[in-house]
Amino acid sequence: MKKALSRIYVLLILLYLYVPILVLMLMGFNQSRYNSMPFKFSLQWYQALIKDTKLIMAARNSFLLAIVTGIICVILATFFILGHRFLSDKVKGLFDSVSMMPMSIPWLIMGLSLLLLIRAVNLDKSMFFVGAGHVVISLPYSLLVLKARMASMDQSLEEMSASLGATPFTTFRRVTLPAIAPAMVAGGFLSFMISFDNFPISYFLMPNGVSTLPIEIQSSIKFGFTPEINAVSTVIIGISLICLTVTGIIMGSSLKSMMGKGGK
């Protein structure tokens, strides 16, 4: 009896989590323009999607932005994590809190402060600042993954390599890099995902006439929605799931421990 109750409880929570999203995905296959019943299967909204140049451009922008953000974040995070060990405890603490800061400040504030920066230096909105904003908010995620990997790495391997006469560069290339490479890929995917899904930063900083997929969803909510958006949403969910799966497979249990740390 008790066991049945707990199963029902878990099921109810999962329904709350998933039903709206599943309905949305289902509606992408519904013929009705107004998301109304009865359900009639149709692929017309996906067909419309392929022909919609505006949405395709938005998808292209989202991808480019997220790829560039992911790559830059991984490079910055890798350098950071390599240098991090040699810092004194005091500097380490300061750098740690600065690097995690963008995680706790609302993206609304991060985005608007960048807008004020653009005004202060008298420039126009541009993709450069959008990218900078995306890098800043995604960087902590790459850092977390790399930090978790670095913490579980056996540092004596590097010492051994050095004492056997390897140059620091050789040690990095032959010992450190192979050890952290999976975390670099996972961190990159995570940052890609954060950037790909981000709405506030893009919305505030995007130059006029340029959009990303989240911006397209927002404007379609604002100006009356089309079922194409259901199809787009389904595609976005699919992409996030792929990133999450890749990150999860690569990191395995370290991802779990990372989430534990993220909670503190």
């Binding site: 409880y9 709206p20 999203i21 509606m27 998301n35 609302p106 949403s233 999450l244 989430m259 909670g263």
Partner: protein
């Protein structure tokens, strides 16, 4: 030295902009020169803005409390009752918060709208007659925000419960404590660090939301976040907007400090 590139990027594009925002919050929107305090004075003298602050905090408290009530039993069931399935359920809990924020909000919009799926279900069961009228209310905002944030709390509480030594529970029951006493005196206190982390991770970001309140709440969803957005994109009072954003930032930092101080008490 290797840490410098990342620190430079963070300084130029995160810390420096916040400093600019702080400076701008002391500028006048009407073009008056020099440092003025009118933006802050305006915020703190008008009851609308104070009410708004109250409502924002109230929303966050409500979302946090509901999340706690939902998350604790779930985390407990996962940690203590389910054996084989808990990893699958953990993954299922994690996935939604990696789906796009706008997609999630949009899905609630479709789900809750009059004439939408929820209405047809409730109508056919006979629970509700006619239209639902839940979209564009405060309830819709809370439903959307809880949906967005409670999974974080499940994870933090689950981690605390998972680490807990089961023999403590056995010891307590052996010594004659009722299930409820065992929970109150043993289980709950031990899980407190997870509960507090969970409160932090739900309450703090909730203060700064603007997408869910705007889209699901309509005119009933006005919170600090939406007012800041309006200052920048509708009213063009950027300096006043900067001041409100700074007040929001102060609220975020203060509540973080308060919650983490509270959490320190439970560390051994």
């Amino acid at each position: 030295m290797l840490t410098w590139p990342a620190m430079a990027v963070l300084f130029v594009f995160a810390i420096f902009p916040l400093l600019i925002m702080f400076v701008d919050s002391f500028k006048s929107d009407s073009g008056a020169a020099g440092i003025v305090f009118t933006n802050y004075a305006r915020f703190f003298s008008k009851s609308t803005y104070l009410k708004l602050t109250g409502r924002t905090v109230f929303n966050s408290v409500l979302v946090t409390v509901i999340s706690l009530l939902i998350s604790y039993p779930l985390a407990y069931i996962m940690a203590k009752k389910l054996k084989g399935m808990k990893n699958i359920i953990m993954v299922l809990i994690i996935i939604p918060f990696f789906t796009n924020q706008l997609v999630r909000v949009y899905s609630w919009l479709i789900f809750l709208q009059d004439g939408g799926i929820l209405q047809s279900i409730l109508n056919s069961v006979g629970l509700v007659h006619g239209s639902l009228g839940i979209l564009y209310t405060k309830a819709a905002v809370i439903i959307g925000l809880v949906h967005a944030f409670f999974p974080y709390m499940v994870i933090t509480i689950y981690m605390a419960l998972e680490r807990m030594d089961n023999s403590l529970i056995e010891a307590s029951t052996c010594l004659g404590a009722s299930t409820f006493t065992t929970f109150r005196k043993v289980i709950f206190p031990i899980s407190m660090p997870g509960v507090i982390s969970g409160i932090m991770i739900v309450f703090v970001p909730c203060l700064g939301t603007f997408v869910e309140p705007r889209i699901l709440g309509g005119v009933n969803g006005t919170v600090i976040g939406t007012v800041i957005e309006d200052q920048f994109f509708e009213i063009y009072g950027w300096n006043f907007g900067a001041a409100i954003a700074f007040i929001l930032l102060a609220m975020v930092l203060l509540s973080m400090a308060a919650i983490s101080k509270w959490g320190k008490r439970y560390e051994e």
